[in-house]
Symmetry: C2
């Protein structure tokens, strides 16, 4: 986008991204063929290689186009939060993390995120490291401000619960439990309530209480 290219070229590239997004979401990486993607985009097979080099390159471009804006929002929200309050509230942190995902309007993006856990690791590991590494590090640090005495392992496990609940909720395909009639806003509220309560809970038999809220 630095130099002004021909309009047709840019729209061909975008059309490939658009149809790739749709088909990757429906069929997964291995189940999607460049032929299906390019013919749905109305361009030639060779165009995909010209613009993205390989099927992997195309997948990465699709994923980053979807996820980068969301994760920027999440980091910006966390920054704002910590700047205003060096001892942040648990609910605010979780909201900063969950809202950009839960309230997002593009279902493809949500499905794509949820589906990443089942794609081939060779494909996903470099992409996830790039797109989620800093996010996880900084949110973990933020949560440690709220729970300064909680063991890191316990914090990681709880964060895993929250992420799992989030992914299962946004994903279009459930284990035969229909939540389609619940609005995005209500799901987000419920997930926040559920997660805050789960995080604060501490009566584990045989495990000493270590939570200490500020103030």
């Amino acid at each position: 986008m630095v130099a002004k290219g021909p309009a047709s070229a840019d729209s061909a590239r975008t059309r490939i991204l658009d149809s790739a997004e749709r088909i990757f979401v429906q069929k997964g990486f291995v189940g999607s063929s460049l032929r299906a993607i390019t013919s749905a985009a109305g361009v030639n097979l060779a165009a995909a290689h010209y613009y993205f080099g390989s099927k992997q390159g195309l997948f990465k471009a699709v994923f980053c186009r979807c996820l980068a804006p969301i994760n920027e929002q999440r980091l910006l929200a966390l920054d704002t939060l910590l700047r205003e309050n060096p001892k942040p509230d648990l609910r605010d942190i979780l909201a900063a993390f969950l809202r950009p995902v839960m309230l997002h309007s593009n279902q493809d993006t949500l499905d794509l995120m949820a589906q990443m856990t089942a794609e081939p690791e060779e494909l996903t590991n470099p992409i996830l490291a790039e797109q989620f590494g800093e996010l996880v590090t900084r949110y973990t640090a933020g949560l440690q401000l709220v729970f300064p005495k909680m063991r890191e392992q316990e914090l990681n496990v709880k964060l895993t619960f929250v992420i799992g609940a989030m992914l299962q909720t946004i994903f279009n395909r459930s284990f035969f439990i229909n939540v389609d009639e619940v609005s995005k806003e209500e799901k987000c509220q419920q997930l926040l309530n559920f997660s805050v309560a789960g995080f604060l809970n501490n009566d584990q038999p045989g495990i000493p209480k270590e939570v200490e809220l500020h103030d």
Copy 2:
């Protein structure tokens, strides 16, 4: 197993199932080839078709061999619970649901379950309906005994959170959050604590309180 067949035939069938389980877990359905599976099993390609009819048939056989025993345990535990106490405890119900999964020793089985959400729907829908339909119906009914006034939608959403947290925790591949050093037992305890607290929580802004615990 009704009639006594030749030992070699039965062990060939089992060897195919074993290597299929391993490879399906690693590569997913689309990413696994019958050729890779049969050659890893030390049998001929045609043997897979002879015993299982098709790649789909083999996948279903693998999945059911793994999951059927777990879901039988879950239903049996629920039955026992409800027979002993017609007004069951929330924690007991969730434990009956989660324990057979969380404490299971075969990692392939756990990964297979977690990966199902991302496999092609044409493949998974019939299998999931058969293996999880009754389970979800009966556990939902059990939870309604605990929360007789909770809207069914809200109950479904919360159950989705629990299942998502479970799947994310048992899955071998996380979003760069390492929980490998935590024992299965501790993860199970933490998930139970988290889920019970999340279920009981009810202070949703703008949504009326409807939870009513028995007694």
